[in-house]
Symmetry: C2
Subunit: 137 residues, 2 copies
Amino acid sequence: MAQTLEIIGERWSLLVLREVFLGVRRFAAIQAATGAPRAVLTRRLETLVAAGVLQRRAYREAGTRARHEYRLTPAGRELQPVLTALMQWGDRHLAWPEGPPLRVTHAGCGAPVRAALRCDAGHVLDDTGRELQAIPR
Amino acid sequence: MAQTLEIIGERWSLLVLREVFLGVRRFAAIQAATGAPRAVLTRRLETLVAAGVLQRRAYREAGTRARHEYRLTPAGRELQPVLTALMQWGDRHLAWPEGPPLRVTHAGCGAPVRAALRCDAGHVLDDTGRELQAIPR
DNA sequence: CGGGCTGAGTTCGAAAGCTGAACTCAGATG
DNA sequence: CATCTGAGTTCAGCTTTCGAACTCAGCCCG
């Protein structure tokens, strides 16, 4: 966990990733969406690329010079449960005057999606970890 | 998500919570386990208590004066999926020479537990969010 | 009684990080 | 040629963090 937080635990990192998940890929757009200062954003993107979470690739819009965009790598996409869990906690425990700002549903069936604890035998545990057993090392 | 990160997104917060989840409740023990500077730890604990994630309560060991310990509130316990998701990502994507440092299993059946995306209709989605649909408010 | 120990802080100066605003640079546009 | 834009970089000021030293209350020991 500590190692993971080294990569994505810095200010802005997870907000940047949220935007990329939502399809915002270009520097200026990420900057506008998150409000992160440009200097910080530059460094965060570098870190995330170096960690293999994002991939920087050139793109070219008709009649402009080449720019970069940032896309999720497979490893980056696997951070989805982290984002979902964070969102879900906020939705539950912070007061939203007009409902949660983003709803996430299963594209297949339309039902809301949540991050659940589930064991490999298929049991779904409750969110509080009461049924968990931790075995160090 | 941004609001949630305001509370638990600062350096050390999640590591502190991990320790409390593991049953480490006293200031000095949390400090030793996380390595956070004491001054910072004091402030983090204050923040977490103010946010209703932890509860500070007095305790007294035989023959010592009263001290405090920090316990999870129900809201705090619901952060378990966040911790699990972070741990799981690290286990998968960072190289562990001798296996992951902590294994978490279902107390009922002994199978490893993971944070999975699951819709309210009961479907389990893959971790990459490919089957997700986001609907902004 | 006096000195030392412990848990939980607080205080300090130095180092690192964040912020907002200004500056750069390359290529496209007019 | 002057201007615009996206993506940075630089800079000065501020905040946060770091690690080490200091405090303080009550207990224990001799």
